[in-house]
């Protein structure tokens, strides 16, 4: 082969493996799922074309809306707290005169590195109503047992706590990097103007961190609406469906062999998640401009 030809062909050869894998395990199943979402199919026999029935079924099904409702509540319990607390911790950590910073950083990221399934199991044990660590500690200070995983009131906050515990370190790292990119002369000028630290935080740090904050908002919105392993391992969606998140409800279609509905559910979820991501980024931008 001539040298020129080789140089021309090289980039195509280099990117080819990705496109082969994507075609086989991305584009093809995606197209297949789209077709599947218009059929009734239980995994065996012929798939029957039923048009938009799966979509109308879901959109009028109380269970579908309940799963979205559960995920929305989870979102409310997780995302605002994580963004505010994460930013607060990142601001404290960004102080150049802080000692032990490396140690704090390790402590905050360690949960992010632990396997979710392992920690989900630890959560079952720690929050057990009868024998768990948390109720044991509550009893010691004279408080009654709480049904952390067995009452509909507490099941969502308990799972949200697992999510927060596991991923807030990630948020802190992203925000810390964002803070370090804020030029220091901005703060020097504000100091000269006599602006208080709290005022600097709200009127300068938050706007300047717009990019990192919107990134986290989108990533965590996606993650919360796809939340699966936490309820799957810890509560199996219970009690009384209170932790059946959008992700777990989708999985239930597989166990029920209702694959057409499952495919339709996937697409509704994707549309929703895209819309939410766009909306949150919009809102965050609009407020500051």
């Amino acid at each position: 082969m001539s040298l020129l030809l080789r140089k021309r062909a090289a980039p195509y050869v280099f990117v080819l493996p990705f496109f082969v894998v994507f075609a086989a395990f991305g584009a093809y199943p995606l197209a297949y799922a789209l077709r599947l979402s218009f059929t009734k199919w239980t995994g065996a026999g012929e798939a029957r074309w039923i048009g938009l029935d799966n979509y109308t079924y879901l959109l009028t099904s109380p269970e579908f809306w309940a799963s979205l409702g559960n995920s929305s509540i989870m979102w409310l319990l997780v995302v605002p707290i994580q963004l505010v607390a994460g930013l607060g911790a990142a601001v404290l950590l960004s102080n150049a005169k802080l000692r032990l910073r490396g140690l704090f950083r390790v402590a905050f990221i360690a949960p992010f590195v632990t396997p979710l399934v392992a920690m989900a199991q630890v959560w079952i044990v720690v929050f057990d109503r009868d024998y768990g660590l948390v109720n044991h500690a509550l009893n010691l200070i004279g408080l009654p047992d709480v049904g952390w995983l067995t009452s509909t009131a507490w099941s969502k906050p308990t799972l949200a706590l697992l999510f927060l515990w596991k991923t807030t370190g990630f948020a802190i790292i992203i925000l810390l990097a964002g803070l370090q990119a804020v030029p220091s002369h901005v703060y020097e000028a504000a100091d000269l103007d006599g602006a208080s630290r709290a005022r600097q935080f709200w009127s300068m740090t938050v706007p300047l961190m717009r990019r990192s904050l919107s990134f986290l908002l989108v990533i965590q919105t996606l993650a919360v609406f796809q939340m699966f392993a936490e309820p799957f391992v810890v509560t199996q969606g219970g009690p009384y469906g209170s932790t059946t998140t959008a992700g777990l409800y989708l999985y239930d279609h597989i166990t029920a062999s209702d694959l057409g509905t499952g495919a339709a559910n996937s697409f509704l979820l994707v549309i929703l998640v895209f819309a939410l991501s766009l909306l949150s980024v919009r809102l965050l931008r609009a407020r500051d401009e």
Binding site: P11, F25, G26, A96, L140, I173, R211, V218, S266
Partner: protein
């Protein structure tokens, strides 16, 4: 920033927060080393004198955790190897070559970045069963083995290499792949280390796809093996048996988290680089 010396409350706040983050990990590992009955009777206590490996012995006897580790290791090596080889290669093509169709192809890479894994689970499962790949290593390894995010990241890293360096390599007579192997790879080593560590974490902790794709004991990854322990709990809530189940569960969970925690503490910088690389795509 022109920082003031941090005040005592700052340290107290960060210290309490750090303890809250570390405590569940410490509690799981320390409780896994306690006699089973004490996990329930005295969950807060821990004494070195009582340390026992009974929970681990029982767990190894009951659960195929060794198989789980071996399967995860196999998937990790092959899938990780594919990511580490093919993603920088594709990133190199997108960063340093001009070729017809490049924008379109890179656009597809960017689009797939936004594709939630959840949407693919059902059709992928059907594809696997049509191919007869359910309960095979192929099913665990191939989907997602060359991913858009890693390509995107490596493209950023490689774009920073000066073109003169690559041209110098060509003058020396290296072929197209030779330039990649002999010049690009050595220069981007820190980026590759970050990619390796992040890929390792993702593959090791991956759960949704393995739990769907594999249901026989022989092919279960570590996370899938772990999840079967939780299912044992609900059916077993009486007396000493109950404490033993908990003890096994904590032993399995602890042994599963230790390898990554060790790697994390040793390779902290690469981990953080890996996590941060994620934020550039925002």
């Amino acid at each position: 920033m022109n920082d003031k010396r941090p005040s005592l409350p700052t340290y107290a706040l960060l210290g309490v927060l750090a303890l809250l983050f570390l405590y569940p990990i410490w509690w799981a590992i320390s409780s896994s080393l306690k006699p089973a009955a004490e996990i329930i009777s005295d969950p807060l206590g821990f004494s070195l004198a009582d340390v026992t490996l009974d929970g681990y012995r029982a767990m190894f006897a009951d659960v195929p955790i060794g198989t789980g580790f071996a399967n995860t290791a196999l998937v990790l090596v092959i899938k990780g190897g594919m990511t580490l080889f093919f993603c920088p290669l594709a990133g190199y093509a997108f960063a340093k070559y001009k070729f017809p169709g490049k924008d379109l192809l890179f656009g597809i890479v960017l689009l797939t970045l936004m594709l939630p894994t959840l949407v693919l689970i059902i059709p992928l499962l059907l594809e696997m069963s049509a191919l007869g790949w359910v309960n095979t290593y192929k099913a665990l390894i191939l989907p997602g083995s060359i991913d858009a995010f890693s390509i995107f990241w490596m493209r950023q890293v490689i774009a920073a290499i000066p073109d003169e360096l690559l041209d110098a390599g060509r003058v020396d007579g290296a072929g197209e792949f030779g330039v990649f192997r002999r010049i690009v790879v050595p220069v981007i080593r820190p980026g590759l280390a970050g990619l390796a560590v992040l890929t390792m974490m993702n593959v090791y902790n991956d759960f949704v796809w393995p739990v769907v794709a594999v249901n026989d004991e022989k092919h279960q990854t570590l996370q899938v093996v772990l999840s079967t322990l939780a299912q044992n709990i609900s059916g077993n809530r009486i007396g000493a048996d109950f404490a033993t189940v908990w003890s096994e569960l904590l032993a399995a969970s602890s042994i599963a988290m230790i390898p990554l925690l060790v790697v994390f503490v040793l390779l902290q910088r690469h981990f953080i680089n890996g996590i941060l690389a994620g934020s550039v795509k925002g």
